[in-house]
Each structure stands twice: as structure tokens, then as C-alpha cells.
């Protein structure tokens, strides 16, 4: 039997989820409103616990050394607003905005297209790999925004169909995001909440993602072989293509933004050795971008997607309501009961439930909700938390690729295509992406089971 505070927390969460899906009110207002209700009703009126409110807001975290420097063996904390995630995402947004303004992404696309001589098959493969690699470090929305736009431009100039390329780029962006701690928002939340490093992700989800990429490249080549063979690019088309350097707006800005990006990659790859948290890295990168951008700094700050940051803040408070009231513990107990304590069944449940749920609802709230669940599951069943964390990361990241609404990159990619007159219906999207998602989910599940559970 649920207690009154559990019913309240659950009710707020369910209404919030339904409102996010229905898209009637902007999602940041929904989570913010739900957060206020959680603080007032769940923590205030039902629990009468000011401490729970403080834990949910988590302001004291800024004052703790662990916000700036990660300590080995630090206790996994999941309660409240995950400021590290928010600050890191904000920092990366500023850096990426600077890179975009300097023309970095467009230059990279044009350069790679030129390197493969604009031939359809090498173009598809190279753009898939590029999408994967960029999404390992940069949010997949930005990757797809630029990649899809350049793909449409290239397709128009070379008279190709851009839809196979856009769909494969979207899939690879989501897959690349699953490879690292800073790729996809669910991974950032998992990494910062459970104190896993960039190296931990690369050695676990990263290896699975790279193997899956190889399989998926072959899959997309097979699926689109007819279209790719029919497409011919003439010498005249190639001659008409602009030179990559032409898309660089300012050489100085281009060099600076590339250097900052390189530094960000180095800091992230080495953050376990240096001890810097991703939140701190986000601050360093944002400050460097702002200082070096001079007059454009104000504009860069204005361009930050504050709506997403507010959405995250509200979401974390609502999830902490479920956590504080013990609802997520109950869910963990159910999963344990269902699996009979068998780790293989637990992995299968987490990966497939996360995958299917992420295919139909936003994977960020889902991952945020599941983190306390797997923590509790690990504590009660004795299963290594990291195994469940990798299953959750891969399930949410990869499952999101299945439908046009599963992940943010899918929405942005299909939107860019449609706005340019290339129609991607649900049927067209799912026809190739659902089988691809199932392939990667099976690979992920088998690799996790073989590597950690047998």
C-alpha cells in the first residue's frame, strides 16, 4: 500500500510525463511547475521535511570539493538537482555555439565530402563515422543540426537523395552519444550521479558502440544499396562544389574554437587523471570560449538553450520526490522480484524496458528516473552497479533511435529534412531504424551478458 507522500510524488510525476508527451505546454514549464508542486506538496505538506527540500535543490553541492574535483571511491549520490550535468551542458552549449559561428562543423563536413570525392557510398560511410565521432563529445542535437543541413545542401548540389544519409547520420549520432560519458544527456546524468569517468564509459559502452557502428554501417549500406548504386555524381557537379575553406567565417575564430574543442576533448579524456569533474570542465570551456570571443560573448551567452537547462532542473527535483518517498525503491524491488535475483534477467529487463520506453518517450526523464532504481537494485541484490549502469545507458541511448520522437537528434534531423522538402514519415523512419535499433540492442545485451554476467 502506497503512503500519501508516495501517491503525491507519483501523481506529480505521471501528470508531468503526460504533459511533456502531449506537448501542450513547453516542457521546461511543465517540469518547473511539477518541481514546485513536489517541493510544496510532497516535501512540504506531506513529508514536512525541509531537509528533503534542501537535498532536492542541492545548492550546497557547489560548496563541496566533489563538485569541482572528483574523488576516487566517492559515494554515489543521485538525489536532487544534478548541477554538474547542468553546468557541463551549459558550458558545452557555449563552446558549440562558438564553433558553429566560426564555421567549424560546415568546414568539417565539406572537407570530408571533398576527401571522398563526393561519391555516394564513401560519403554515406564517412558521414556516419563523422556523426558517431562528433556525438561522442558534442550533444547530438548540434551534430545533427549541422550535418543534416550540410547533407541537404550537398544532396541538392550533387542531385542525390539526402534521406538515407540523414537517417543513418541520426542513428550514428545516437550511437556515438552512447559511447562516452559526455555524448548523450542520459550518460552525463548516469556518469555524474554514479561517479563514473570518461574512461569507464569508453571501456564499457564505448567498445560496444564501436562494434555496433561497424555492424550498422554494413546494415545501412545493405538497406540503401539500390539507391546508392543508382546515384551518379558527375564531374560537373563536383566542379561546382564550394571549397571547404569558403565556409569559414573568420580564420581567427575558427582556429580558436578548434583549439578549445581540442582542449575540451583532452580534458574530458583525462578527467579521471586530472581529477577535474565534468562540471568544472564545462566552466573552463565556457569561460575560455567567452573570453576569446570578445564582443560576441554576450551573443553566445544569449544563444544558450536555457529552456533545456530549466527542464533538467525541474526534472531532477521531481525525480528526487520519487526517490525521497521511496517509490523508486519499490520499483527496484519489483524488478528484483521479477528477475528472481538473476543478473542476466535484470540486464535484459533494464536494457529492453529502457530501450522500448526511450523509443516512445523522451529518454532523459526516463534515465533520470531509472538511476535511483538501479542504485537501489544493486544495493539490495548485490549486483555490480556498473553492469546495470551500462545496460541503462545503452538501452536509453540506443532505444531512442527507433522512432522519430525517441531522441532529440531524430526530431531535429527529420525536421531539417522536411523543411527542405524531403519527407520523412513515421513509416519511412521506422522501416530502417527499428531493425537497426534491435540489432544494436541485441549486440549490447549479448556483450554485457558475455562480458560481465557469465
Amino acid at each position: 500500500m502506497l503512503t500519501i507522500e508516495q501517491i503525491m510524488a507519483l501523481l506529480i510525476f505521471v501528470v508531468m510525463f503526460v504533459l511533456i508527451i502531449s506537448d501542450k505546454i513547453e516542457r521546461q514549464y511543465v517540469t518547473l511547475g511539477a518541481a514546485v508542486l513536489t517541493i510544496v506538496f510532497t516535501f512540504g505538506i506531506c513529508m514536512k521535511s525541509p531537509k528533503a527540500i534542501f537535498r532536492a535543490l542541492n545548492i550546497q553541492h557547489f560548496n563541496e570539493v566533489s563538485f569541482w574535483i572528483s574523488k576516487e571511491g566517492a559515494e554515489a549520490t543521485t538525489t536532487g538537482i544534478n548541477w554538474e550535468t547542468i553546468i557541463f551542458i551549459a558550458g558545452m552549449m557555449i563552446m558549440v555555439e562558438g564553433m558553429g559561428k566560426a564555421g567549424f562543423f560546415k568546414w568539417l563536413c565539406m572537407k570530408i565530402a571533398k576527401l571522398v570525392n563526393y561519391k555516394p557510398i564513401p560519403l554515406l560511410v564517412s558521414f556516419m563515422i563523422m556523426s558517431f565521432c562528433l556525438a561522442m563529445f558534442i550533444d547530438s542535437i548540434t551534430v545533427i543540426l549541422f550535418l543534416a543541413a550540410v547533407t541537404v545542401e550537398l544532396a541538392q548540389l550533387l542531385k542525390l537523395d539526402p534521406i538515407p544519409m540523414i537517417l543513418s547520420e541520426i542513428f550514428c549520432a545516437n550511437l556515438g552519444g552512447s559511447a562516452t560519458m559526455c555524448g548523450d544527456p542520459p550518460n552525463i546524468i548516469i556518469g555524474t550521479s554514479l561517479h563514473y569517468s570518461f574512461k569507464d564509459f569508453i571501456q564499457n559502452t564505448g567498445i560496444i558502440a564501436i562494434i555496433s557502428l561497424a555492424v550498422i554501417v554494413i546494415y545501412f549500406l545493405m538497406v540503401y544499396r539500390k539507391e546508392l548504386i543508382q546515384e551518379k555524381v558527375t564531374d560537373e557537379d563536383i566542379k561546382a562544389m564550394p571549397e571547404p575553406y569558403e565556409v569559414i567565417h573568420s580564420t581567427k575564430e575558427f582556429v580558436i574554437s578548434s583549439a578549445i574543442f581540442f582542449l575540451a576533448v583532452v580534458l574530458l579524456v583525462t578527467h579521471e587523471r586530472t581529477g577535474l569533474t565534468v562540471g568544472f570542465i564545462g566552466i573552463i570551456i565556457a569561460l575560455l570560449t567567452l573570453v576569446t570571443s570578445g564582443k560576441n560573448a554576450v551573443e553566445l551567452v544569449k544563444e544558450v538553450d536555457y529552456k533545456t537547462l530549466v527542464f533538467f532542473m525541474g526534472l531532477f527535483v521531481v525525480v528526487s520526490g520519487l526517490e525521497e518517498t521511496g517509490v523508486l525503491k519499490l520499483l527496484a524491488q519489483h524488478i528484483e522480484k521479477l528477475s528472481g535475483g538473476n543478473v542476466i534477467i535484470m540486464v535484459a529487463i533494464i536494457i529492453w524496458v529502457s530501450g522500448i520506453a526511450s523509443a516512445v518517450v523522451d529518454n532523459i526523464p526516463f534515465a533520470a528516473t531509472m538511476i535511483p532504481v538501479i542504485s537501489s537494485l544493486s544495493a539490495t541484490s548485490g549486483v555490480d552497479l556498473s553492469i546495470l549502469a551500462w545496460a541503462l545507458a545503452l538501452g536509453t541511448d540506443v532505444g531512442g533511435s527507433a522512432t522519430p520522437i525517441g531522441a532529440s537528434a531524430n526530431v531535429v534531423g527529420t525536421s531539417v529534412a522536411i523543411k527542405n522538402g524531403y519527407i520523412i514519415t513515421w513509416g519511412k523512419y521506422c522501416k530502417t531504424s527499428i531493425p537497426a535499433t534491435i540489432i544494436v540492442m541485441v549486440i549490447s545485451m549479448l556483450m554485457i551478458i558475455v562480458r560481465y554476467c557469465l
Binding site: 508527451i21 529552456k307 532529440s408 531535429v412 531539417v416 522536411i418 523543411k419 514519415t425 513515421w426
Partner: protein, 200 residues
């Protein structure tokens, strides 16, 4: 120089608003845009036109679409926004035209040379008209009218400040069942001519 004239017609299903629009376009010798707007938007792309017809002037399904940083995967919404841009572009070019539905009265709300009309009808006459045109029985016709009007209202209200069919959003609202299609068109012609006299 000839004054620009835009006639934006919103209509209830079965009220004959589409036909009245056609008559007005002929009377004033101006272009007529309805579903053919897709032919202009996707010129030479027959397949795209065919697909887009299924998503045109339709409300989006909130459970099948999502919005991210101003982008949406909804074909209905993307198409609606593309059509609004097309309508604005046509209006800006100085072209005179009649446009049926597509939130045109809302999209062109600030155009002084746009006459915004709402055409409704009595249920009985609408049912009779729909039965005659589509060869349906009374129940089927009633259902068809209800379904289309609900869809139009949801589509319109998503993108417009004023509600579909609310007199506040239009310059003139008329019941086509009172005078019939031809005479309603004559009445509206007189009204438009009077408006033209005071247009800049």
C-alpha cells in the same frame, strides 16, 4: 496601379465556402489557392505533393510528435508553417488571390488589403449538400461534417490567436444556407467591392 486584393475564406465543412471562394476568384479575376497550394510549393515533385496531401490542414498528433529547440518531426506542423510562409510570400509579392482555409485570416491578420471571411451553414443544408456531393446517407454525412469541422478547428486553434469560427477573427461572417451559394457569393462580392473602395 491595381490595388492588391486578398480574400481569406474560412469555412465550415459542407457550407460551400470553397465554391464561393472559386466564384469570387473568377468575379475578381484573381488567383485561387486551396489544396493546389501544394502544387505551387512542391512544383514538379508529384510524389511529395501526394504524400503532403495527407498531412495538409490537419491537426498534429501530440503522441507522435515532439518539439526540440523549435524543431518538430510533425509533418502536419512543418507543412502548416511552410504553407504560412508561402501565403505570406504571396501576399508580400503584391499578388491578389483568394485563399481557402489554412489559417490565412490569421496569417494575414495585419494585411489591410486582406478581407477575412467566415462562411457557415445550417446543419440541414450542409448535410444535404454533403450527401449529394459524396453520395452518402444522412448519418454518414453528419459524421463526415463533424469529423472535418473538429479537425479544422483543432488545426486552426493551434496556430491562431482567435478561435476558429469566432467572429472576432473575421471581417464578415455569413450563413450560406440563407441565400444559397450563388447569392452569398454576390453578397460577398458587393462587400469586397465596398472594402476595395477604402483600401490603400
Amino acid at each position: 496601379m491595381k490595388k492588391q486584393l486578398i480574400i481569406a475564406i474560412a469555412r465550415e465543412y459542407g457550407s460551400g465556402g470553397h465554391e464561393i471562394g472559386k466564384i469570387l476568384a473568377e468575379k475578381f479575376g484573381i488567383a485561387f489557392y486551396d489544396r493546389n497550394i501544394l502544387d505551387h510549393m512542391f512544383e514538379g515533385e508529384d510524389k511529395t505533393q501526394e504524400i503532403m496531401k495527407q498531412y495538409e490542414e490537419k491537426p498534429f498528433n501530440p503522441f507522435l510528435s515532439r518539439r526540440v529547440r523549435g524543431h518538430t518531426n510533425s509533418l502536419e506542423e512543418n507543412l502548416a508553417l511552410m504553407q504560412f510562409n508561402f501565403i505570406k510570400k504571396k501576399a508580400k509579392s503584391g499578388e491578389s488571390f483568394v485563399i481557402i482555409g489554412r489559417c490565412a485570416e490569421s496569417v494575414l491578420a495585419h494585411y489591410k488589403n486582406a478581407v477575412k471571411i467566415y462562411i457557415r451553414g445550417n446543419q440541414k443544408s450542409k448535410v444535404y449538400r454533403v450527401m449529394k456531393i459524396y453520395g452518402l446517407d444522412e448519418k454518414e454525412a453528419n459524421n463526415k461534417i463533424k469529423r472535418h469541422d473538429q479537425s479544422r478547428a483543432r488545426y486552426h486553434n493551434k496556430y491562431s490567436v482567435e478561435k476558429w469560427g469566432d467572429a472576432k477573427g473575421y471581417d464578415i461572417c455569413v450563413n450560406s444556407s440563407c441565400l444559397g451559394i450563388e447569392k452569398t457569393a454576390d453578397l460577398l462580392e458587393d462587400y469586397v467591392n465596398m472594402r476595395k473602395e477604402i483600401m490603400e
